[in-house]
Amino acid sequence: MKKLRLTVQLLFTIVTNGYLYGFLSGKIYRGGLKYACVPGLNCYSCPGAVASCPIGALQALLNQRGFQVPFAALGFFFLFGSLLGRFVCGWLCPFGLVQDLLHKIPIFKKEKRLPGHNILKYGKYAVLIGLVCVGSMFLWGGFAKVPAFCKYLCPSGTLLGALPLLGANGALRSQAGGLFLWKLGILIAIVLLSIKVYRPFCQYLCPLGAIYGWFNRFSLVQIRWEKDRCTSCMACEQACPVALSRQEISRSPECIRCGKCVDACPEKCLHFSGHNFAEQQPS
């Protein structure tokens, strides 16, 4: 499972960022695939990106003059969320992969959570409401509204978009100033923290994780726990990288369906599945 997940993460990242000409020329893909969004946090200004970022798309719609319900972005959230929930975070998000790889670096004592986790975990909802929604509707830069999350926080945009573009495009590089340094500082902080703490951006700041977490309870893809066969050995809880209990696995908004609990269970009473219709019949 561990190797399968890493393979899927790598393949999905490569396929969705496979516009190699962009990396060489310092330009971005301008084709029709960008009408659609990828499920994970993937800056559409990444030179390799072949589709759009769902959070960027939501902000682009909220940045329009007047107010329109952002149906298109909500449509992508409902589709991906209802099918996969936070499986997207665990298996399909490029920035999640980056944090996973950083956490494998064998320095620092590893931690699953930050102190104050039970309060800090609500940070992602604050980012979603404050920066992505309210910020994008009411913050103005000159004569246009700004995508506040992308502009002031998103480390994925800095890593996948800014660094490759500025590296290959001298004209853009000459314009980088204080805002770029601010975003670079955030990226460096998250990179360093990721070496010690498991996926700090996903656990505490990612607005996309906040959205998909809401779908975890009823999405098609689930991790099933066969309670009758469980011997309460706690191997799953020890393996869970975000320290969830058996009862919380899969249904908690914090579960990213990484599958480490499935691997760890000696009785094989945890497994990935779609909805088990027989199991859902009223007794």
């Binding site: 960008k34 995508p147 853009l172 009823f218 999405s219």
Partner: protein
């Protein structure tokens, strides 16, 4: 049906259907064009310049 509290086996289907309807509504209002226009220009804010 308590849609949000229970893991109802059909809730995900309702979610997918809602997503499809929302996407169609968004496309009808030209929102996919808005997303495309934003995505094919380098987003200066995203890269810390704008």
């Amino acid at each position: 049906m308590n849609f949000w509290k229970n893991s109802n086996s059909r809730a995900w289907m309702l979610g997918v259907l809602t997503g499809a309807v929302f996407l169609a509504a968004g496309a009808f209002q030209g929102q996919l064009d808005v997303i495309w226009r934003k995505a094919v220009m380098i987003c200066l804010e995203c890269i810390g310049i704008g």
